[in-house]
Amino acid sequence: MKSILLKKHLLFFSVLFGIFVLAQNKIKVPAEAVFFMEVNGKQLNDKINWQQLNPILQELNKNSVEKPTWKDFSDTGILKDAKQYHYVTFNDSVKTYTAHLILEDAAKFLDFVKISAKKELDITKKAKYSYANLNNDTFVAWDGKRAVITGIDYTKKLPKEYWEDLPADSTVVVVDAADAVVDSAYAETDYADTEVKPFNYKDEIQYLKDEIQYQKEDIKEHNAEIARMQKDIKYLEKHHKYPEEKEPKVSAETEEIASAMPTEEYDEAAEELAYQKETDSLQAENLKILKTFAEKDFDRYFASDATVEVPKELIKFKDPKSDVFMYTNYGQIFKNGIYDRMMNLYNMGDFFQNVYNSNSFYNLYFDKDKVRLVNNYQHRDPKIQKNLAAVYQGKKNKKLMSLINDDNIGYYAINVDGSKYFDMMYNLFQSSTDSGKYQKELELIVETVKIVLDEDAISKIAPGNGIFVLNNLNAKKVEYTDYEYDDDYNDKEVKKTKDVVVPDFTFAFATDNENYWKRVFDVLTTNKELSEKFSKNGDIYYLKKDPKNSTYIDQLFFTVKDGIVYLGTSLENLGPGKQSGDSSKWAKDAVKHTQSGKWNTQKLLIGLEKEFKSTSEKKALDLFRKNVGDIYFKTDVKSESLETEINYTTPNSSENSLMYFFDFCNDLIKIAEPETPAAL
């Protein structure tokens, strides 16, 4: 008895729980979104000094009449500390951008929308929400608590024949007949629903009624036009000219009668009018289609509760502590964008689609004194991702990193496994044939390349460790010709000199086959033609200095020693430099990571100083010196992804790195403002 009672209770609670779950009608972000962004409003709000920011935002939002559309961000009616969700979906014909906002004050929001639209809004009231179109492709919907903004771009899909009729040459691949072109616009609008809605005859009747009304209006317009033309014919038969135009009444009607002028302008005006009419009609038709899409989206959104459900795939690498999280599906962007059709025209199309078939996740942090962006890149094919990870797990090379020294402006170091690169490329080629096109041929080519290439020998030439160091930016005196005038304005050619900034850099990479490189360099210095440009001094090979050469690089030196190939613009930097404190720390850091780099922007700007001569340029340089920070990045293989962390240190005295950007904007606004006479 007890067990029956227990079962009944369990059943009751299960049903209750089921109802509760069903009642939680969450809004789903489409799994096929190519871009998704979650803005952590609460965290950002805590970091923003609104008193300071509002005037800057106003300045940035000045409209054409130079009046800001709002005075304070709270005038927008958007809740500052709520999460915002933005996403983009697109298929072959519809591209949609959607933003979900939480409102603090719906009335203020409506006012803000009205002012921003700069026109009278045509508001459609629905049972649960109201919506309006801001322009021909942007719609906004709201209820008391929430708002959705959606931008829709609809391009009617061109028939397959259009692409096939393009000028064909031998490289054109015949599009697979299985790729039947279907305008998936309507299907796409149902992306958030997994179930297919049954055919609703009532909707269909309404649609047909609307269509009849539209056609009727069109007939009316055409009839009026025919009547006017018949009238003109009769007048022309009788008077052999068009009726004299009376003093123009400035109204819409007079524009229509502009066609009565038997002049050249007449034809142009009539043509323009006809064109405008056709464009307006197409735009109206397009707007009608877009409205249908938008409305479907809004219905779904306002039928749900405020909870947003994001597919796990899209937030795989999301850090809840980040201020902004973004996801991009480059594979889909590549496939569904213009490249889709383009790629089908080329033999390598599948290969490139395969290369781009990846997801990227970004976590953005506005820390106290730096901005941090962490990117996780993951190929959608686990096999290729594994290959990629293998490439990015190369051996470390300490010797190379000794080139990082105290005086450097910046460096970029890489430690990959060159031998694994071949495996990755073979895999990319082999898995590029989903459609089965040229499968056998590609397999044969890959196999032949494998036989011909000795991957081990190649990877010994350059195993995959390298570094580029920008040692300095030097000034070089360059002579140029100018023209000067005497009192009678006779010109005279004069020679002048000016300083040009030239880079002093070193590029070095590890090798397990020093002899190979020595042979290459020996050929450069002994070959009859090449030896005119290259020479040798002991172990150092160099590109001879050409007095006529005024390019940024005067001389190049290269040598091989201790398993490293060096190439650089100065002799003294073809080897380790002085390391202490910071530089030694960075050198040790560079050994640890697959990829890393650091740029001292202040040093870079000091080097570039000579390139900024005018007062406004110098003013800009001073501004950048005050505001620009250093960049550091590193890449490693982490959690089945390639993780790249980019750090940008913020140098000025702003409250935090988020406010730093706004302060920087403020300084930019000041510098861009024309000087007042008083200031002059």
Binding site: D488, K548, S550, E617
Partner: protein, 222 residues
């Protein structure tokens, strides 16, 4: 948004190292209406950058012309100019080391230069937007006119910011020398030489494109 773009533009301008060139044209007019015309394009100040660009295939998405292509174009222009009645002694010089192009010729009357430019335009050697009816001279009435040119603002606005950058430091100088002394002129932007036999107009190319400075001038001679 427009303002934001403006600031971004400033940022881009700062980051790209600017190049500059000078355009110089000079007319030496005798009392009988004949004279000498010369045109110089001097990009010598940017030769470091140009030498580097010349090694590239494209810059800002546009094909970089090869030395031979430029030479052939200049040869073509010389031949066209030589064929114009009234124009003699056509000379061209191309200095690839310093990036200076020179063209000079003698004319019977200044309108021959207009015809030469018109012919260059019809043969598509120069662009269709380049003005051709530049000068007018009436030796009997001793009045020389430098005609107004159309505004290039809309063409300039259509350029990408990288292309606009080319004009940021470019200058234009125009010298008009006369055998007779100048009685008066209508455009005070032209400075007059102390001997009153020449006027000179100079400014940034951008000022002329945007018509902040005007080239038109009517000069009355003694």
């Amino acid at each position: 948004m427009k303002t934001t773009i403006k600031y971004l533009f400033i940022l881009c301008t700062f980051l790209s190292l600017t190049s500059c060139f000078d355009i110089i044209d000079k007319i030496n007019l005798k009392a009988d209406g004949s004279g000498e015309y010369s045109l110089i394009l001097n990009a010598s100040k940017s030769k470091t950058r140009l030498q580097s660009i010349s090694k590239m295939e494209t810059v800002n998405g546009k094909k970089v012309p090869k030395k031979a292509e430029i030479e052939s174009k200049l040869k073509e222009a010389t031949a066209v100019f030589k064929s114009v009645p009234g124009i003699t002694n056509v000379k061209t010089a191309l200095d690839f080391e310093n990036f200076i192009v020179k063209l000079s010729c003698n004319f019977k009357k200044i309108e021959n230069i207009n015809s030469g430019l018109e012919l260059l335009k019809s043969k598509k050697i120069i662009g269709k937007t380049i003005p051709t009816q530049l000068y007018k001279n009436n030796p009997a009435e001793k009045v020389f006119v430098r005609n107004k040119t159309a505004s290039y603002k809309s063409d300039y606005d259509k350029l990408s910011s990288a292309d606009k950058e080319v004009f940021s430091n470019a200058t234009y100088t125009s010298v008009l020398q006369f055998e007779n002394m100048i009685k008066s002129q209508t455009n005070s932007s032209y400075t007059m030489s102390p001997n009153k036999k020449a006027v000179k107009l100079s400014g940034s190319v951008l000022d002329f494109i945007l018509q902040k400075k005007q080239v038109q001038n009517t000069i009355s001679l003694h």
